[in-house]
C-alpha cells in the first residue's frame, strides 16, 4: 500500500493511503515500527485512510507497545467519525493520544 512519510523537526508523520486490511497491514507495520528507533516522536495521520480492519488495529497496538518501551511518543490524528467511534466504544481510544488534526498531534508530542 502507499504510505507517505514526512518529517517535522524529527517528528515522523506517517500517512497511510487507502486501506489497512489483512493484506496491507504488513506494509503498514514495516513502515511504522522502525520509526521508533530513530524518530523523536511518531504521528499516524488517518486523513487518507478509507478503512482500517482489526489487522490494522493490531499494528497500532504493537506500535503503542513499542512507543512505551522506547520512550518515543505516538499520537493519532484526523480520524473519521465512524473510526473514532469504534475506537471509543471498544475502549482502545484509551491506549492512544488521539487528536483532531496533525498539528495538534505534533504539538502534543513535541511539547509534552
Amino acid at each position: 500500500m502507499d504510505i507517505r512519510e514526512e518529517d517535522l523537526d524529527g517528528i515522523s508523520v506517517v500517512v497511510p493511503v487507502g486501506r489497512i486490511d489483512i493484506n496491507t497491514a504488513p506494509d503498514a507495520e514495516a513502515a511504522l515500527l522502525p520509526k521508533f528507533e530513530s524518530a523523536k516522536g511518531v504521528v499516524v495521520d488517518f486523513a487518507e485512510l478509507v478503512y482500517i480492519s482489526s489487522a490494522g488495529l493490531r499494528v497500532l497496538l504493537k506500535a503503542a507497545k513499542l512507543s512505551k518501551a522506547s520512550g518515543v511518543p505516538l499520537a493519532l490524528s484526523n480520524m473519521a467519525p465512524p473510526v473514532l467511534e469504534v475506537f471509543q466504544v471498544s475502549g482502545f481510544a484509551k491506549l492512544f493520544g488521539i487528536f483532531d488534526d496533525r498539528e495538534a498531534a505534533v504539538r502534543s508530542i513535541s511539547g509534552g
Binding site: 522502525p34 482489526s54 488495529l57 513499542l66 465512524p82 471498544s90 475502549g91
Partner: protein, 569 residues
C-alpha cells in the same frame, strides 16, 4: 451499564515452552486465571467457544466451566496430532504442569468437543486457520439464533510473533472492533512483578510469514476452499435420446451463469456430478445462485425436453489439498472435506441451495467483514444471503452428520419460491427468534414487514397482531432512517423478534443519533394539521397498539423495545 456479552470466543497465548521466549511464563498463570475470571464475570458470558492448546486456551476453558459456562471446544485436527503439537511440548519439567491431564479433564467437562478437520496436521497452518474460522462462525451462528452479537476475548501479548492460530491471527480475522477485549499479558507481568519480555528485535518479528512452509516430498499444499457439488436429481429419468438435448440446455445455463457470476477457481466432473471450488464462500454462493436461477428460468421445452432438470446443489467449506491431476493436467482439489462435500450433495433439496455449517460460518464471517467496511466508509451494505436452519442430517458411510442450512439470495428473481421440502422442514421446528439487519433505506421497510409476517404466520399469530406490530416497526424504522442519519454516518439498524409464553418482544435498535421516541409528546389531536409535529402521530399509535414501549440508550445504540401479548387464534 454495558450490555452483557453472553457469547464469547476466546483465543489464548500458548504457554512458554523451553525453546520459546517468555510471552507466557508459567509463573504468570495465577494472575491470568484471576484476570480471566474477572473478565468473564464482567462480560456476563454464558456460552464460550475456544480451542484447547496448553496455555491461555486451557486457563480460559477451566475458568469458564468453573463459573458454570457452556463451553464448546474446537480442535484443528484429531486428538493424537493435537496433543503432540499443542499439549505435549509444554509437559514436563519446564512448566511443571500436567497439561495433558488438564486437557483431558477440560474435554470431559466441555459441552462439546469438535474436530474441524480429520486429517494429519503435516506441519501445516491451514488447519489451524480453518479451526479459527469455525470457532468464529459457530459463535456468530449461535449469536444469531439468540439475537446476540459474539464477543472476542484475547489473552495475549501484543508483541508476541504472529503465528497461525495465535491470538493475533484471530484478531486479524475479526470484524467487530467494538466487541473485542484484550487481557494484556505484558501488563499482567508488570503487575505481577515478573521481569518483562525483552523488546523483540525488529528483525525477529515475523511479519505475516504465513504462506511459506517447507513442502515435503509427496505432500501437496493445502488451502481453505469453498466447495460446491451439484448434480441433476432427476438425471436417471432422462431417456438416452434426451441427453444431447439436456446438454444443450446446460450450455445455455452455462452462458447465463458466466454472465452473472465470477468464474470459480476450478470445475471438474465427479461421476454424474460437477464440483467447483472458489476462494471465498461469497463467490461460490454467487455462482450457485446464478446456476440455480438459470436452471429454473430457462424453458426446457425450448430444447425439446419434456421435463425441467432439477439440480441439487450443496455448498461446503474446508481445508483441501490442491494440485494438478497427473493424467489430465487439470487443477484439482482432494482430501477429507472434498469427500465430505460429495456426501452432502445427495441430501440437498432439489431446486435450491443447501449449505453445511462450515460453509455458513465462512459466509457469515465474510459478510461481517463487508458490513464492517461499509460502516467505516459510510456506505450502506445489505447482506445478500440469508440462511434457514433445516436440521442435523445424517451423511452416508463414516461421515457422521452435519448441520444443514438452506441458502436464500435476496437478489434472486422474485418469482423463485422456496421448495416445499424447505417449508415443511421449517414448520417442524420454527425458530422462536429472528434477527433482521436492515439497511438504512426506506425501501427495505417493506421487506422487514414481509419477514415479520412470515415469522408470525409460522407461529399462527393472528392478523390483527401482525398488522399492529408491522405498523409499529414501520414507524420506528421510518423515524430512524429520517432522523438518525448524521452527515455521512449511516446508522446500522437491527430488528429482533422473540416469541415466548408472554408474547412477542420486538426490539428495534440502531447506531444513529440518540433519539428517544417515548419522549415525543402525544399529538394535540385538536390542532390544525400544519401545527402537528411530523412523526408524532405515528408514535402515538405505536403506544396505543403495543402493550408496552420502552427505550434505552447504551453502547452507542438506541434501543426501543415493544411488547405485545398474543391473543390466540
Amino acid at each position: 451499564m454495558k450490555e452483557p456479552a453472553r457469547i464469547i470466543l476466546c483465543a489464548g497465548q500458548r504457554i512458554d515452552q523451553a525453546s520459546r521466549t517468555g510471552y507466557f511464563p508459567p509463573a504468570l498463570e495465577p494472575m491470568l486465571k484471576q484476570a480471566v475470571r474477572d473478565r468473564i464475570t464482567e462480560l456476563g458470558a454464558l456460552i464460550g467457544y475456544s480451542s484447547a492448546a496448553a496455555g491461555g486456551d486451557i486457563v480460559f476453558g477451566e475458568a469458564f466451566v468453573d463459573l458454570g459456562g457452556e463451553l464448546h471446544l474446537f480442535l484443528p485436527c484429531e486428538r493424537a496430532d493435537f496433543i503432540s503439537q499443542y499439549i505435549e511440548p509444554a509437559e514436563g519439567d519446564w512448566t511443571g504442569g500436567d497439561w495433558l491431564g488438564r486437557f483431558d479433564r477440560l474435554c470431559a467437562k466441555a459441552a462439546s468437543v469438535t474436530v474441524s478437520c480429520e486429517e494429519r496436521l503435516l506441519g501445516d497452518d491451514t488447519l489451524v486457520r480453518f479451526n479459527n474460522q469455525m470457532l468464529q462462525g459457530m459463535a456468530r451462528l449461535r449469536g444469531e439464533r439468540l439475537g446476540l452479537a459474539p464477543h472476542l476475548m484475547l489473552l495475549w501479548s501484543p508483541t508476541a510473533p504472529l503465528e497461525p492460530g495465535s491470538p493475533a491471527d484471530f484478531m486479524d480475522q475479526w470484524s467487530e472492533l467494538s466487541h473485542l477485549s484484550i487481557v494484556d499479558l505484558d501488563e499482567l507481568r508488570v503487575d505481577a512483578g515478573l521481569p518483562e519480555t525483552e523488546t523483540p528485535d525488529l528483525d525477529d518479528i515475523d511479519l505475516f510469514d504465513l504462506d511459506t512452509f517447507d513442502l515435503e516430498m509427496g505432500v501437496s499444499p493445502r488451502a481453505i476452499r469453498a466447495i460446491l457439488f451439484a448434480d441433476i436429481a432427476t438425471y436417471t429419468q432422462f431417456e438416452d435420446h434426451e441427453i444431447p438435448l439436456l446438454f444443450d440446455f446446460l450450455a445455455e445455463v452455462q452462458q447465463q451463469v458466466e454472465a452473472r457470476a465470477k468464474a470459480p477457481i476450478l470445475i471438474n466432473t465427479w461421476g454424474d456430478a460437477v464440483h467447483t471450488a472458489a476462494g471465498t464462500a461469497h463467490d461460490l454462493a454467487d455462482y450457485a445462485s446464478a446456476l440455480t436461477e438459470a436452471v429454473l428460468s430457462i424453458d426446457p421445452a425450448g430444447f425439446g425436453l419434456s421435463r425441467r432438470p432439477r439440480f441439487r446443489v450443496a455448498l461446503h467449506a474446508g481445508p483441501v489439498f490442491v494440485g494438478l491431476h497427473p493424467l489430465t493436467g487439470r487443477s484439482m482439489i482432494f482430501g477429507h472435506h472434498v469427500n465430505r462435500a460429495a456426501r452432502i450433495e445427495p441430501i440437498a433439496i432439489p431446486g435450491g441451495i443447501c449449505a453445511s455449517q462450515p460453509f455458513v460460518a465462512l459466509l457469515k464471517a465474510e459478510m461481517a467483514q463487508l458490513a464492517d467496511e461499509a460502516r467505516q466508509t459510510g456506505t450502506t451494505y445489505a447482506p445478500r444471503y440469508d440462511v434457514l436452519y433445516l436440521g442435523r442430517k445424517s451423511l452416508s458411510k463414516q461421515f457422521g452428520s452435519e448441520d444443514i442450512y438452506f441458502l436464500e439470495d435476496r437478489e434472486a428473481a422474485e418469482w423463485i419460491e422456496r421448495p416445499a421440502d424447505v417449508l415443511s422442514a421449517i414448520e417442524d421446528n420454527p425458530p422462536m427468534q429472528m434477527r433482521i439487519e436492515v439497511p438504512c433505506d426506506t425501501a427495505e421497510i417493506a421487506r422487514v414487514a414481509a419477514r415479520i409476517e412470515a415469522f408470525c404466520a409460522v407461529h399462527a399469530i393472528g392478523e390483527a397482531t401482525v398488522q399492529a406490530v408491522n405498523l409499529a416497526v414501520d414507524e420506528l424504522l421510518a423515524n430512524v432512517m429520517s432522523y438518525g442519519v448524521e452527515g455521512s454516518r449511516i446508522p446500522d439498524i437491527v430488528v429482533h423478534l422473540a416469541l415466548d409464553e408472554n408474547g412477542l418482544t420486538i426490539t428495534v435498535s440502531d447506531t444513529g443519533i440518540a433519539f428517544d421516541p417515548t419522549t415525543l409528546q402525544p399529538p394535540d389531536l385538536e390542532a390544525d394539521l400544519e401545527d402537528r409535529p411530523i412523526g408524532g402521530l405515528g408514535i402515538h399509535f405505536v403506544r396505543q397498539m403495543m402493550d408496552s414501549v420502552s427505550y434505552t440508550r447504551r453502547d452507542g445504540r438506541n434501543e426501543t423495545i415493544l411488547r405485545k401479548r398474543i391473543v390466540s387464534q
